[in-house]
């Protein structure tokens, strides 16, 4: 990494611009929006630099600002209630995993000690790839809920789910899809 010892804001764009951009792009899936978010983050960081305590690294601090900007982005563009689309119903995945009676008809691959994978850079590439393959709203939901910790009601409002129940059903299907992808892309290959 090209981290300079001089942490002055003039170097942020060079030192952290790409990292912030990748982080934003993975979430919003639009290059233009990701660029805007990086700009907003660096400007907000610059204006608030006197509040930076030095308890974390500048990088962590800027990523924290970016996370807020991403949530703001969803708030500004919150959706009207929309019907679940075909991608999201994921019946294809559920249908082949379960028989008519709702019993498993596939065997899940044993993941062994998956924690080991977390030290492997290749694992994170596979993990991010699987997140990218999820339908956009499913990925948004999973990340806003699990990573950003937004409340269920707020997730419904931001992403246009009409009830808590619809949200839970979709979250479950999202996890089914993500799990399946991780198994195929990573745990079956190890």
């Amino acid at each position: 990494m090209t981290q300079s010892n001089n942490e002055s804001p003039e170097n942020w764009l060079n030192d952290y611009g790409d990292i912030l951009y990748r982080f934003a792009l993975a979430r919003v899936r639009s290059e233009a929006t990701a660029e805007d978010l990086v700009q907003e983050t660096l400007l907000a960081g610059f204006l608030a630099y006197d509040k930076f305590s030095g308890n974390s690294t500048v990088r962590t601090w800027l990523v924290g600002i970016l996370k807020h900007k991403i949530i703001d982005h969803y708030r500004k563009h919150s959706r009207e209630v929309t019907l679940l689309n075909d991608d999201e119903t994921a019946d294809d995945v559920l249908a082949y995993q379960f028989d008519q009676q709702g019993n498993w008809q596939v065997d899940l691959v044993e993941w062994g000690t998956p924690d080991k994978s977390m030290d492997d850079e290749q694992f994170w590439l596979a993990f991010n790839d699987c997140l990218t393959r999820l339908p956009k709203r499913m990925a948004d939901l999973l990340l806003l809920r699990t990573v950003d910790g937004l409340a269920t009601e707020e997730c419904c409002a931001l992403l246009g789910f009409e009830s808590d129940n619809q949200l839970w059903v979709t979250l479950s299907r999202t996890r089914v899809k993500l799990r399946q992808c991780l198994e195929t892309n990573w745990f079956s290959k190890e």
Binding site: D18, P114, N128
Partner: protein, 85 residues
């Protein structure tokens, strides 16, 4: 008695809301008897853990800000700096 298909939905739901005591007991019982659902639940736990650790891992390093975007942002930063002065 819950079917496996219902158990995996409840397993996910339990990560986001609290379930009635009876439901949780039935799930525990089911996990004792059903290896596949129990494996599924463990894998979901791991996925949650990985999601929590996601932001510490930079990936796809060949994906970068374009030069034009960099210049645009640098210009904005410069303007902000002059305004603050």
């Amino acid at each position: 008695m819950y079917k496996c298909k219902e158990i995996i939905e409840l397993t996910s739901k339990e990560m986001d809301t609290s379930l009635p005591w009876m439901t949780r007991m039935e799930m525990k019982l089911h996990f004792l008897m059903c290896k596949t659902c129990s494996r599924y639940a463990k894998q979901l736990q791991f996925m949650n853990k990985a999601l929590g650790a996601l932001e510490g891992h930079d990936h796809a390093k060949n994906c970068r800000l374009s030069e034009s975007a960099k210049q645009r942002i640098a210009k904005k930063m410069q303007q902000a700096k002059e305004t603050v002065k």
